[in-house]
Amino acid sequence: MSGPEAAGVPAEPRWRVRLLAEHRAGSVAAVTGVFANRGVSFDRLAAGVVDGEPRIDIEFAASARLARVLGRTLERLAVVRVVELEQR
C-alpha cells in the first residue's frame, strides 16, 4: 500500500460527472484539460453516443471543494451543454 492512505490520510471522496457535450473534435480534450490543469486523474472515462446524444462520463476522487470547482468550470466550456455531478 502506498500514497496518502498508507500515510493515514483519509481517502478523498469519489465523484461521477456526467456530461452532455458537443459531438465534435476537441470536446474530450477540452474536458480532460480542466482535470489536468488541476492535477486530478480519472478512475474511469467513457465517451460515446448514447441514445443519439454525445455523452462523456468521468469518475474521479477529489475533495468536495475541488469537485465543485471542476463542475463549475466544466459548465463554462462551450463544448459542454449539461453537467451532472454526484458523489459516489
Partner: protein
C-alpha cells in the same frame, strides 16, 4: 488555471485580455472568461470581443468564455476592472469621492457573488478605482490575503521607469518600490532603490544625484506646485505639458505623468494592462515573487510606532495563494512619516466611503 476579467470590454479590460493572450500567460488548455453585464452594452460587446480575440490569436488562444452575471464568474484569478473610470472626458478632473460612490455597489455585488459561489481560493486583482476601496470590500468578504490592488505595482513600475530614464537605463536595471495609496498620494521609497550593475556606493551616489535635497515629507507640496505648473502648460498644448514633465525629477514624473496621460484623452490602458498581466503571471507562476500592491494590513507594518491597519500599498510577497507577507524594512524617518500620514488619510477615506 483560468482567469476572469470583470469589465473585459472596457479600455483596460480589453488591453488586459489581449496582453494575457499575447504574452502566453494563459496556455491553450486554460480558460479566459470575459465578464460583462447582461442587457448592457458590455454584455453584447463581450461576445464580440471573444470573436475578435479568437480571430487574432487562434493559433495559441486559451478557451474563451463569456459570463454575464456575477454568479457566473468562475476562475482561479479574477481581475476586477469593472466600474466607472476616470476621467471619462478629455480635460475632466478626477473626483475620487464620486468614483467611490459609483463603484462601491459594483465591488459589493461581485465580491458577494464570489464569496457565496466561488471555490474559496480565487485570487482577486483589483484594477478599478478607487483601488483601496475595492481591496477593502473584497478583502472583507474573501479574506485579505486573496486580494491585491494593482495600483502599487503600476506606480512602482512607473517610478522604476522614471529613475531608469534619468540614468539612461532600461527599467529592468532598476529595483525599488512605491508605497501608499494609488495616485497623487503615493510615496516613492527612494531608500529601496537599487541599480543592477552598480555597487552600493555607485548606486547611492546616482540616487542622491537624482533625488536632490528633497525629503519624502515634502513631496505632497511639490506635487501640488507641479500640478499647477502642468495645468498652465496644458493651456499651451499637451506637447508643451509633456516637455514640462520631462524636466522634473523622477519621483514627480512618476506621480504626475500618468495624470497628464489621462488628461490627454489617451488614458493609461496599456501601462495598466502590463502591470496587471505581470501580477496575474506572478500568481499563476507558482513561485513567491516580491511585488508591490495595495493590501488590507493587520499590523504587519509599524508606522509612527504603531501597527498599521487598513488598506495601503506596500512591497509584498505574492504567490499562488495570494500575498503572504509584507517585505518592508525599517524606513528612514522622512519616508516613515510620509507613509504614516497617507496611511491615516487613506484609512479615513475608505471608512467614509464604506459607511
Amino acid at each position: 488555471m483560468d482567469v476572469a476579467v470583470i469589465g473585459a470590454t472596457g479600455d483596460i479590460g480589453r488591453a488586459v485580455c489581449g496582453m494575457l493572450i499575447e504574452r502566453r500567460v494563459l496556455p491553450a488548455t486554460s480558460r479566459l472568461q470575459l465578464v460583462g453585464r447582461a442587457g448592457g452594452a458590455s454584455g453584447r460587446a463581450a461576445h464580440g470581443l471573444r470573436a475578435d480575440l479568437i480571430d487574432a490569436h487562434d493559433e495559441f488562444a486559451p478557451l474563451i468564455d463569456v459570463a454575464l452575471t456575477p454568479g457566473d464568474v468562475v476562475a482561479d484569478v479574477i481581475v476586477m476592472a469593472a466600474g466607472r473610470t476616470v476621467p471619462t472626458r478629455v480635460g475632466e478632473r478626477i473626483d475620487r469621492d464620486e468614483l467611490a460612490m459609483a463603484n462601491l455597489a459594483v465591488f459589493q455585488e461581485y465580491a458577494d457573488a464570489i464569496a457565496e459561489r466561488g471555490s474559496g481560493h480565487e485570487i482577486v486583482v483589483i484594477v478599478a478605482n478607487p483601488v483601496e476601496l475595492g481591496v477593502a470590500v473584497f478583502a472583507e468578504r474573501l479574506g485579505r490575503h486573496r486580494v491585491i490592488g494593482m495600483g502599487g505595482w503600476l506606480d512602482t513600475m512607473r517610478f522604476r521607469r522614471e529613475v531608469a530614464r534619468s540614468l539612461g537605463l532600461r527599467r529592468q536595471r532598476v529595483t525599488g518600490f512605491v508605497a501608499g495609496p494609488h495616485g497623487d498620494g503615493m510615496v516613492p521609497l527612494w531608500s529601496t532603490v537599487r541599480i543592477v550593475g552598480f555597487d552600493p556606493d555607485e548606486s547611492a551616489r546616482a540616487i542622491a544625484g537624482l533625488r536632490g535635497a528633497w525629503s519624502a515629507e515634502g513631496l505632497p507640496a511639490r506635487v501640488a506646485e507641479a500640478k499647477a505648473e502642468l495645468e498652465a502648460a496644458e493651456q499651451i498644448g499637451i506637447d508643451a505639458a509633456y516637455r514640462v514633465v520631462a524636466g522634473w525629477p523622477p519621483d514627480l514624473r512618476a506621480v504626475l505623468k500618468s495624470y497628464l496621460t489621462h488628461q490627454s484623452g489617451a488614458k493609461t490602458a496599456h501601462g495598466t494592462a502590463a502591470a496587471v498581466t505581470d501580477l496575474v503571471d506572478t500568481v499563476l507562476d507558482g513561485r513567491d515573487i516580491v511585488v508591490a500592491g495595495q493590501v488590507a494590513l493587520a499590523g504587519e507594518v509599524r508606522l509612527g510606532g504603531a501597527p498599521a491597519t487598513g488598506v495601503l500599498g506596500v512591497p509584498i510577497v505574492v504567490g499562488p495563494e495570494g500575498w503572504t507577507r509584507v517585505l518592508l524594512d525599517e524606513l528612514p524617518p522622512d519616508e516613515a512619516a510620509a507613509l504614516g500620514r497617507v496611511a491615516d488619510r487613506t484609512s479615513a477615506l475608505v471608512a467614509g466611503w464604506m459607511s
